[in-house]
């Protein structure tokens, strides 16, 4: 069954080709939708088949490498298009294809009537293809291909409605369009990709190979812990991850990426592409384990981003922007997990996050659709009677992300915080605990303002429940959000922590190097769990009280904390700072220096100068043709003298 892994990757590509090349001619939403969703669905089925086969095999035999073809052979560099099917990649594949399939189906309903329907599905399939390449690759170069590919698809999909006006919230006042948001996403991603690329060069220089197996086995064998080169490699890899997974300092593209259609936000910017960074760090766990300083940096940036983004999400009014900041914050959690050595927990959180975040976005999409493209939650309210299914599923997702047991979010988040605590990093635990409270707060602020309370919208809008094709995926995702956590129930609560056990062989080498995580007592674990639940419930209660009952208190608080409120609302002015310190100098430098001086004067000067030199020399040399026979005879004689001289004095 393993040999079918090539089909998992190939089918979405075929879907892309069919929809891309013939979609316009087919001009049938039904056909495009079925093909687009169908290929992803079949990929999911194949992935599931491989998964079940893997479960039957003993642990040592679970990792296979399936080579499709030999791609590059140049000197000592030999790269094949080969897929490594092991526990980690199959889990990610199931997530990508499974959640992807549900979102594809949802899009059939959401994009109904759009004249670019076929293009949308073509891009979505291309994205799935690239993402699968990224996840299943067995070498850095193929992973990088997928890495860049998903960046490209992100650009294409964010700017899908390319002339739609877009408000970027004060950073660029006026006429910003979705294309600008797409460009921003791509450019910021590029900065991260630069880090990844340099890291690849260093890896090749150090290990003479780019295949994961070779690099990881050699690394664990010969590199000492704390090696300087390894520090730089992992730091640069992490830079790439911050770009792709929207961490500090490269997170600024994700809120603007909400300009794209909601299914895009759900698929790419919640469930899959942004988790590519997390996957990459997890895959290179050995390298990171060899550089404790980098792991520290990963953890610090992870938790900083988590709390940073959570504070910004408190005051946003656009429903999708709140969810965007929530995504950034949850990704911070995942990196925190990776940074403290809990690789399996980080991946577990990826899985549960995919479920409930996709659900949140799809639900938001249903609301936006019903409210005729209204996205400001201040103009919503009381929708729970009009859209019951959406409300119920949204509520489930909100409870999951807030960390209420027995929903999935509780288990994964708590696992990370517990691992951080048991390592002795109490600060991480405290900050994570505060962030959990903030998460619960802003999430239920969103729920209260959108679905509950009084209706604040004008009555020419008629919100209604979304069609079946959109609600069925919502329901499926809700079920997964509930039961998804059950595969990761920790030992302390009686479960077998199946996820951790399943993924353990992948992280075996890294865990050997890290060895000796301090553990604290069981009672401490129970205590921490209770504290987490308490802070979540507290956040929910506070949000509901403020926004449902005492709304005037909210505006009074906004006034009295005016300065802080302004700071948060303007997203800490991060965009403005970047614009001022980085973007503007580069633009000015390029225009004045690079273009005027270098390009026009020097490069054009050289090219034109060569031509002028040739003209000048030839003008000077044509004077040899005097037309007098005796001058030519003179030249003959001189030539004879020279040649005779050479022959004689040889």
């Amino acid at each position: 069954m393993y040999n079918f892994v090539g089909y998992i990757v190939l089918l979405p590509f075929i879907g892309f080709l069919i929809n891309g090349l013939f979609g316009k001619k087919m001009n049938s939403e039904k056909l495009s939708g079925i093909i687009g969703s169908g290929v992803v669905g079949i990929s999911f089925v194949i992935a599931a088949a491989i998964f079940f086969e893997m479960l039957k095999l003993p642990v040592e035999e679970r990792s296979h490498i399936v080579t499709i073809f030999n791609w590059i052979t140049a000197g000592s560099l030999s790269i094949s298009a080969a897929y490594q099917v092991d526990q980690l990649s199959i889990l990610m594949t199931l997530i990508v294809t499974g959640v992807g399939f549900l979102i594809h189906v949802y899009s059939i309903g959401y994009m109904h009537g759009d004249k670019g329907f076929w293009r949308f599905f073509a891009y979505l399939n291309l994205f799935i293809f690239m993402m699968l390449n990224l996840i299943l690759a067995n070498n850095f170069l193929l992973m990088f291909l997928g890495w860049e590919g998903v960046g490209l698809c992100s650009y294409l999909l964010i700017g899908f409605w390319h002339d739609k006006k877009f408000d970027t919230g004060g950073y660029k006042p006026g006429e910003a369009t979705t294309s600008d948001a797409a460009k921003k996403a791509f450019v910021v991603n590029r900065i991260g990709d630069f880090g990844f690329l340099i890291a690849m060069f260093l890896i090749f220089k150090l290990f003479s190979s780019l295949t994961f197996e070779d690099v990881f086995s050699r690394a664990s064998a010969i590199i000492p812990v704390g090696d300087k080169t390894m520090f730089w490699i992992t730091l640069l890899l992490f830079l790439g991850a911050t770009g792709k997974s929207a961490q500090i300092p490269l997170f600024v593209w994700l809120p603007d990426a909400m300009a794209g259609p909601t299914p895009v936000s759900a698929l790419i910017h919640a469930a899959t592409m942004v988790t590519a960074g997390v996957y990459m760090v997890a895959r290179c766990s050995v390298l990171f384990a060899l550089a404790p300083a980098s792991m520290e940096i990963v953890a610090i940036i992870g938790i900083s981003t988590a709390i940073f983004a959570a504070t910004m999400g408190l005051v946003q009014n656009d429903i999708k922007k709140i969810l965007a900041y929530s995504t950034i914050s949850q990704l911070g959690y995942m990196f925190l997990g990776l940074g403290v050595g809990a690789f399996a927990s980080g991946i577990f959180h990826v899985m549960t996050h995919a479920f409930f975040k996709a659900l949140l976005f799809l639900g938001a999409g249903a609301v936006i659709h019903a409210m005729h493209d209204e996205q400001d939650i201040q103009n919503m309210g009381g929708l729970k009677s009009k859209m019951p299914t959406t409300y119920k599923t949204f509520l489930v997702a909100a409870l999951a992300i807030a960390g209420i047991p027995p929903f999935s979010g509780f288990f994964s988040k708590d696992e990370i915080l517990w691992k951080a605590f048991s390592q002795g990093s109490y600060i991480y635990w405290i900050l994570g605990w505060v962030t959990a409270g903030l998460t619960a707060f802003y999430m239920f602020r969103l729920v209260s303002l959108t679905f509950e309370g009084k209706e604040r919208w004008s009555h020419d809008k008629h919100p209604h429940e979304a069609p079946k094709v959109m609600t069925v995926p919502l329901i499926i995702l809700a079920v997964l959000s509930v039961i998804g956590g059950l595969v990761g129930v920790p030992h302390s609560l009686g479960g077998g922590n199946a996820v951790e056990q399943f993924l353990e062989p992948v992280f075996e080498r890294a865990n050997l190097i890290l060895a000796g995580a301090h553990s604290a007592s069981l009672s401490a674990e129970y205590m921490l769990m209770i504290l987490s639940v308490l802070v979540a419930i507290g956040g929910i209660y506070l949000a509901r009280k403020l926004y449902l009952q005492k709304r005037e208190l909210v505006s009074k608080m906004a006034d009295s904390f005016g300065g802080i409120y302004k700071l948060l609302w303007n997203k800490y002015y991060v965009d403005e700072v970047y614009e001022f310190t980085i973007v503007k100098p580069i633009k000015t430098g390029s225009d004045k220096l690079l273009w005027r001086v270098f390009d026009i004067n020097i490069i054009d000067g050289i090219v034109n100068g060569t031509a002028k030199l040739t003209a000048f020399t030839s003008g000077w040399m044509r004077r040899i043709q005097v037309g007098l026979v005796q001058s030519y005879a003179l030249a003959f004689v001189i030539g004879i003298i020279v040649i005779l001289g050479i022959l004689i004095f040889r």
């Binding site: 003179l634 004689v637 001189i638 004879i640 003298i641 005779l644 004689i648």
Partner: protein, 169 residues
């Protein structure tokens, strides 16, 4: 020093002198005449080398035909002396002299003259090969192809001359 050697030096000296005189004369007719003297000297030298056929041919063809042709053309064109513009370009003469001196020097050095070992110029077979019979034999057996082609060449030359020198095309 037997007669042959003295004879050679005399003839060589007259050849060189007549050559120099030819080059420096103003009057073209005098140049032609000096050149004819040069050719005669050369013919005598060929005779020293026992190349009878070549010597006779030299006189017949070169001195007898080509030089007469030159003479005809000079008289046809009615050229005067080269009196004008001589003094102006005297540096041209000195440069030319220097360059030709250099050429001479190089040739001498290249041949190892005149201080090199003197091989005898005369082979034992020299007398036999200079005769008309021997040249005729070689010409019509080994070199028959160039011979025939030369006749074509001469035909082409004749046609060319007639075409070029006609008054009207």
């Amino acid at each position: 020093m037997n007669f042959e050697v003295i004879f050679f030096f005399l003839i060589a000296a007259s050849a060189i002198v007549s050559a120099i005189l030819m080059v420096t004369q103003r009057n073209p007719i005098k140049s032609v005449l000096f050149l004819i003297v040069n050719f005669f000297c050369l013919a005598l030298i060929y005779l020293i080398l026992h190349a009878q056929f070549i010597a006779i041919i030299q006189i017949l063809v070169y001195a007898g035909a080509i030089m007469v042709l030159f003479l005809f053309v000079i008289m046809l064109l009615n050229l005067g002396d080269e009196t004008k513009l001589v003094e102006k370009m005297s540096y041209k003469k000195s440069i030319a002299s220097i360059l030709s001196g250099v050429v001479l020097l190089e040739i001498m050095i290249g041949l190892g003259l005149p201080f090199g070992v003197g091989f005898s110029a005369m082979n034992s077979k020299a007398i036999e090969i200079g005769t008309v019979e021997s040249i005729g034999k070689s010409l019509y057996t080994e070199f028959i192809l160039p011979f025939e082609i030369t006749s074509m060449l001469l035909l082409a030359a004749i046609v060319g001359v007639i075409v070029l020198a006609k008054k009207k095309f």
